[in-house]
Amino acid sequence: MSGYSLTDLVNTLPITFLLLWALVLVLVEAFAKRSSLTMVLAAVGLMAAIVLSVMQFGVESSAFKGMLTIDGYAIFIYVLVLGSGLLSILLSYDYNRRMGWARGEYYILMLFSIAGAMLMASAANLIVVFLALELLSIPLYILAAFVPNNAASEEAGLKYFLLGAFAGGFVLYGIALIYGATGATDLTEVVAAIPTTQSPVFILAGAALLLIGLGFKVAVVPFHMWTPDVYEGAPTPVTAYMAVVAKAGGFAALLRVFISAFPSVAADLVPVLSALVILTLVVGNLAALAQKNIKRMFAYSSISHAGFIMMAFVTYGQPGLYADAVTSVLFYLLAFAVTSFGSWAVVIALEQAEGKGLNFEDYAGLGRKYPVLSAAMLVFLLSFAGVPPTLGFGGKFFLFRTVLEGGYTGLAIVGVLASLVSAYYYLRVVIFMYFHDGEPQVRSEPALNLVTALTAVGTIFLFLFSGQLLAWASQAVLALL
């Protein structure tokens, strides 16, 4: 009987390194008690993990007896979530200090949660999906409630926790049903056992429960109720982190599980998925129209973006098309991540203590007093709305192309209409910035400015290289097939 070998650790080096690093940081924080040291070391660890991930690009391997798969798809998500973690840390440091809750464990919790998102992208076994989901979520519950003695933040944490654990229950029950129907939880064994199963209804029910559970995580309607409250109550850098990484992790697992294990139920799921997409786009966008608080507005906008990503997922069952579907999801996730971090950086720059500076009126006069910052915000909002020449346009373009190739013209039309509606509430912020007078209070700080500049340049510059990015993403996907 062979145990685990060193190869397993080498193959999963980005994850194992990050987890070990986080454990070391727990000790560093316990003895040194300096949050700035922990923050710097956490950032160093993330950068090292990015290097380790990139070094593994193109190598396809599996580890721990097939529990984890490390392929281009996983590496793409690794780099995405690690980079997002790095940006979140840059956004957090000054913010946490000036709001008065600079604590080192914040960064450690973030590292653990990132490791969870990476495991979700690599999970080749349903039980790993469950464990990774919890590793991603449990630190996030704490981070959402991180503000001491603050009712809004604690409430956000509690709501996120109760609904997240509820969703975890669905995922687990779904896995148990699939185990019952196939006697396996390994994705390849599951797909091999599906044709001979005696209880196909368990497969369908299990897949549906998995979809519900992961749907909670990525916040598609009707499983989105927690999103606006949690996004509003959580510290803003945590919101930025949650919006990107929890979504990326959720979709990463959703795509891998459904494409590798459940192509057989795709036909049954198409109407359900289409309904979810349409509901998400309609509810997300209409509710965003009514918001006055910018954090809530971005929360609903992130719900609608989950709807867009889900749109590509509808086509996953069509042979010859799922490569395109996954590629466009990866590209869209990248576009969403870059744009989202930029816009949250601007929100953080304007946010004041005790939740002030978060209404649209607080953006009045920004265009005149801070032309560079408001130009950056304009770029992000245009990218969210999908206007060229921004990354967001590229994301939507490839997405709609995939959906049209799949023959879902109606869905594509709903998507285009939804983008039009979304332009309205994004442009409302622009109108406040440029056509209203006011005295905006802005925090200017190197790390914050760096994130804003990087993402603003990235949003436009990366668009010019969309072709190459897309090629990279599709190369990443090839391994999945």
Partner: protein, 100 residues
């Protein structure tokens, strides 16, 4: 030996009770207990199927799930205590600082 169907039915009933509890109860602790019931319904299913397939894997998953549930209890109860300290209530209908 008790037929597998009985186990499946019992676990489905437990899961439903748990899910309904989450949706209808207003006390955070009771909601949390209902979630634990859902997890345990999953555990029961795993153990029953492991017996049916005469495989150990299902039984081992239960250990993982119990570990995760323990971690969730630690975080969840801490959150509930924190909310209680600030607001003096754990009724989630009164947790309405955030809305709109």
């Amino acid at each position: 030996m008790v037929p597998i169907d009985y186990y499946v039915a019992l676990s489905a009933v437990l899961f439903t009770i748990g899910a309904l509890g989450v949706l209808t109860r207003r006390n955070a602790i009771i909601i949390f207990m209902s979630i634990e019931l859902m997890l345990n319904a999953g555990n029961l299913l795993f153990v029953a199927f492991a017996r049916m397939y005469e495989a150990l894997s299902g039984q081992i998953f239960v250990f993982f799930v119990m570990t995760v549930a323990a971690a969730e209890v630690a975080v969840g109860l801490a959150l509930i205590v924190a909310v209680f300290r600030t607001k003096n209530t754990i009724n989630i209908d009164e947790a309405s600082t955030l809305k709109g």
